[in-house]
């Protein structure tokens, strides 16, 4: 790892902590170096950075985000940041018939890395998370040994609402819940609804 990458990593996590506090509350499981898929609600571009900053250092290096290839490789800086600092897994948004869109994710999991995914697929700002896309189900089916950890990210939408560029310092939390597994014979829709409920259940009562 070059010095510039290290400096950038320290800088990003410092700014994230300064602005949001980036507190991780490990309610359902301890922060262990197990292979996991963290799945969370998605309200802001900062969601990934918050989870990343809330993870302990040794977990951080093995935990990778998913980045849209067309957007995050558009210029040199974005490409460098996502490739070198965050070690992102790139996926294409355009579907081609001959390629499975989940293939890069499966490859990363075979490699032993953990992933952070936002199964809603896009940012929601209505409060309630939208229905989950089926990717999580397929990954759970293919990799039964990987822990699925639900995460609720709170307050991030207040830091940087859509359309604003300067973030406002407000404390945010990432609450990590108990790991779940795909039950034998569980239907796709049932499982996705159960996963979504696991994320919503972590929401603090006082909002």
């Amino acid at each position: 790892m070059s010095i510039a990458v290290k400096v950038m990593g320290v800088l990003v996590s410092f700014v994230a902590r300064l602005v949001t506090g980036a507190q991780g509350h490990w309610k359902g499981c301890p922060p262990e170096a197990l292979q996991r898929i963290y799945f969370a609600n998605h309200q802001s571009h900062l969601d990934w950075v918050l989870i990343w900053a809330a993870l302990p250092d040794d977990l951080r290096v093995r935990t990778r985000p998913i980045a849209a290839r067309d957007y995050w490789t558009a210029n040199k800086f974005k490409h460098w940041l996502t490739r070198e600092v965050f070690n992102a897994v790139y996926v294409s948004r355009q579907r081609t018939d001959d390629q499975d869109p989940l293939e890069p994710l499966a490859e990363a999991l075979q490699h032993g890395d953990s992933l952070v995914i936002f199964p809603e697929g896009t940012r929601s700002n209505k409060g309630e998370p939208m229905p989950f896309k089926s990717g999580l189900y397929h990954l759970a089916e293919q990799f039964p040994g990987v822990q699925l950890v639900p995460v609720w990210i709170d307050n991030v939408q207040r830091v940087m609402p859509k359309g604003e560029v300067v973030p406002v310092p407000i404390l945010c939390t990432a609450t990590f819940g108990a790991p779940m597994q795909l039950q034998p014979g569980e239907d796709k829709r049932e499982f996705l609804e159960r996963a979504r409920e696991a994320v919503v259940a972590l929401r603090p009562l006082i909002t």
Partner: protein, 324 residues
């Protein structure tokens, strides 16, 4: 006493810190040694709390020492960071809306730095009116420009209040360090020390008195322990402590007592008000380790200083303009 007076200002201040750190070390040893023996968890619990309190005291003292060592620039920066963290916590609890975004940017990134620059430059006249006059008018203007009429007054009041307490109030602490007093040059640290000790003893005595007197609480929905007698006891002890510390201040003995009384009374009321605020925001526990919002309880700890410092600062300034 005479030997003390013959020392230079620098040496006197160094002695002050030496005594402080010495007392803290003794207290730490006194608390720490029994924890080595106590094995049962229920026995260790109060010790753990004492250790946490002691750690807070250590941090406070080190911060105080650093702010003295680093001179005007360092002191201003240090308290600026504290202001930032306190305001961040306040705004988190205040549940602002989307349309407050620009006002909040103004508060965090323009008002806060400017206020501390004014302190650092010792332009105390502008420093005293910058937030109460100019910012007071600028925030609603910016808020109206955002075009959201819903709960307009309430939203603005929240932001104004946060700025006044967390920025304006707290910035008076470094201002005390930098205040140039006639015949008292370079002894600002003593004034801040006086304020902190007086406010702290008022708080401790009030806490003890409310447990001991068991009076009916004045406002049971806000604080089950706050009563007028306990509050008065705290303020009176603060006055007494002020009189005992008269030798480090430029005051006469009755003035030191009065200053102690005022600062102690303000500090405990500040904490009381902060409890009301937290109850309103839905935080049930006082000084909780990790609340739902992630607020860590810095606000509770600086609240007495936020309330006592401005009153104390302006009393001192008012007095110094009268003094020959």
């Amino acid at each position: 006493m005479n030997a003390l007076r013959s020392l230079g200002v620098e040496q006197q201040v160094a002695l002050l810190f030496l005594i402080l750190f010495g007392l803290l070390s003794l207290a730490s040893i006194a608390v720490f040694v029994p924890t080595l023996r106590a094995q049962h968890s229920e026995q260790a619990d109060p010790h753990l709390r004492q250790l946490r309190d002691l750690r807070a005291l250590w941090i406070g003292t080190v911060v105080f020492w650093l702010s003295w060592m680093s001179g005007p620039v360092g002191a201003t920066l240090l308290f600026g960071v504290f202001s930032f963290l306190a305001l961040r916590e306040f705004i988190t609890l205040a549940h602002t809306r989307r349309s407050d975004h620009r006002s909040l940017i103004l508060a965090f990134f323009i008002v806060l730095p400017l206020q501390y620059v004014l302190v650092g430059l010792r332009s105390f006249d502008l420093f005293s009116v910058f937030i109460p006059v100019y910012v007071f008018l600028a925030i609603p203007v910016l808020s109206a420009l955002a075009g959201d009429p819903e709960r307009f007054l309430e939203r603005n009041a929240k932001i104004q209040w946060g700025i006044t307490v967390c920025v304006f109030g707290l910035s008076h602490a470094p201002a005390l360090l930098l205040l140039e007093f006639p015949n008292y040059a370079g002894r600002g640290a003593f004034l801040l020390f006086f304020l902190v000790i007086v406010a702290a003893s008022a708080q401790i005595v009030q806490e003890l008195a409310s447990r001991w007197l068991r009076r009916r609480p004045v406002a049971r929905h806000i604080d089950r322990s706050f009563s007028y007698r306990a509050w008065l006891a705290g303020a009176l002890v603060a006055a007494l402590v002020g009189a005992l510390l008269v030798w480090i201040t430029p005051f006469r003995i009755w003035q030191a007592m009065l200053m102690g009384l005022v600062a102690g009374a303000c500090g405990t009321l500040g904490e009381f008000v902060m409890k009301a605020l937290k109850k309103d925001a839905g935080v049930r526990y006082w000084g909780n380790q990790s609340s739902v919002t992630g607020a860590v309880g810095l606000l509770d700890r600086v609240a007495p200083l936020c309330f006592a410092a401005p009153v104390f600062f302006h009393s001192v300034r008012w007095y110094s303009s009268l003094a020959p």
